[in-house]
């Protein structure tokens, strides 16, 4: 169990040894106050340690959801225990802040495909990862850095990252990036994404920010089997959200495209995409039939009144989704 202990005095090196001898592993220590965090199988041993004044079990907090997530009802997933346990999500992006301990413990594996190291210099991958983590806090992340410090991604790095995700048994891949080109789902990257999906890796890809022009979805969002995500804004489709060409039923669905953290705001289908990735991870942790889950997510969307090539099935609707799943 994890314990917070109040000490009578500052702890020295020898005190630390005393703790370790009694099987207590020090997790947290600060020079600012005489409080430590530790892990032990038997908290009673702490009563035998002379410099420990008092102790109690570390409590569980609740996640303070971002306003964007509250609006779409992500908290309802947690209320019914959908937290993403046992699901591996590959986040192919600009890496993460290595100093972020909150993220570090969710990372099962990481690999740098840029030659720069894993550190997120943009920053982008960190925000995407934290967003997914707040929706599916018990999921595990595979962090593939494929975007360099200038925010650019080389196409081969996308292939490498996707293959790495497959080899390491990711259930889901999040791609908040794209290649703007004329493609009807038949470019080499889109073909490869379709093959990956056929082999059990679900790829969630941003639609792009080149709207409202028709046929402006980027690749691999054009891949037939990718789950392609457009952006909503104030309950309508965001003007910038890429649209499919006339006969294309893409994007597949919409999710909110803006996120405010304090005074910092980030906008784009980059943000919409991890909302769906996290939601799917939460659902996959309970429901084994992934195709059925994806179908249910689409079926339960709120129709915003646009065509299929603009909104797909509509806007993510968590309360309706939970009703559909429990029927």
């Amino acid at each position: 169990m994890r314990i917070l202990a109040k000490l009578k005095r500052k702890m020295g090196f020898e005190d630390r040894e005393k703790l370790e001898k009694r099987g207590a592993l020090l997790l947290f220590q600060t020079e600012l106050i005489n409080i430590i965090g530790l892990e032990t199988e038997d908290s009673e041993v702490l009563k035998q340690i002379d410099f420990v004044e008092d102790f109690k079990e570390s409590e569980k907090g609740v996640i303070l959801f971002n306003e964007t997530l509250l609006k779409i009802g992500i908290q309802h997933l947690h209320e019914v225990g959908l937290l993403g346990a046992g699901i591996y999500i590959s986040i192919l992006d600009s890496g993460i802040f290595l100093q972020d301990l909150g993220l570090k413990y969710s990372v099962a594996l990481h690999k740098d495909f840029t030659g720069e190291g894993l550190q997120d210099e943009v920053p982008h991958g960190t925000i995407i990862s934290k967003l997914i983590q707040s929706i599916a806090p018990e999921s595990s992340m595979l962090i593939g850095k494929i975007v360099n410090r200038f925010g650019e991604v080389d196409e081969i790095a996308v292939f490498q990252g996707l293959e790495w995700s497959y080899q390491n048994k990711a259930h889901l891949v999040n791609l908040s990036l794209g290649f703007s080109r004329k493609c009807q789902g038949d470019c080499w990257l889109c073909q490869y994404v379709d093959a990956l999906v056929d082999n059990g890796v679900h790829v969630v890809s941003a639609a792009g920010n080149w709207g409202p022009e028709k046929g402006s979805i980027s690749c691999p969002g054009n891949a037939n089997k990718a789950i392609t995500i457009g952006a909503s804004e104030d309950g309508k489709i965001a003007n910038y959200s890429s649209r499919g060409f006339a006969s294309q039923e893409k994007p597949d669905l919409l999710a909110p495209g803006s996120l405010s953290i304090g005074k910092f705001k980030i906008i784009g289908t980059s943000i919409s995409t991890p909302i769906i990735t996290g939601t799917l991870a939460s659902l996959f942790s309970k429901y084994q039939d992934k195709e059925w889950v994806i179908k249910s997510v689409k079926q339960s969307c709120k129709d915003l009144g646009y065509s299929k090539s603009e909104q797909g099935q509509g806007l993510l609707n968590i309360p309706m989704l939970l009703e559909v799943l429990e029927k």
Partner: protein, 70 residues
């Protein structure tokens, strides 16, 4: 150095391409190979018997439209 994607006809072609560049990506799921090579050697790769098509690896971008302080 340049990065290219090559569509190949059979898996033996990978070995032939290795003579002219570093293989960056190869997969059982696709007949596309990622290669790092030079402008000069690119012509050799293009003319290999098992190579169907070659193009440069493109650059993509992150899909954040804006990121700013409010």
């Amino acid at each position: 150095m340049i990065r290219i994607l090559a569509k190949i006809k059979d898996s033996q072609t990978v070995e032939k391409i290795k003579e002219y560049g570093n293989i960056l990506f190869v997969s059982n799921f696709t007949d596309i190979v990622g290669v790092e090579t030079t402008e000069e050697k690119l012509e050799n790769i293009k003319h290999l018997e098992g190579v169907a098509q070659v193009r440069l690896s493109e650059k993509g971008i992150l899909l954040k439209k804006a990121q700013h302080s409010i």
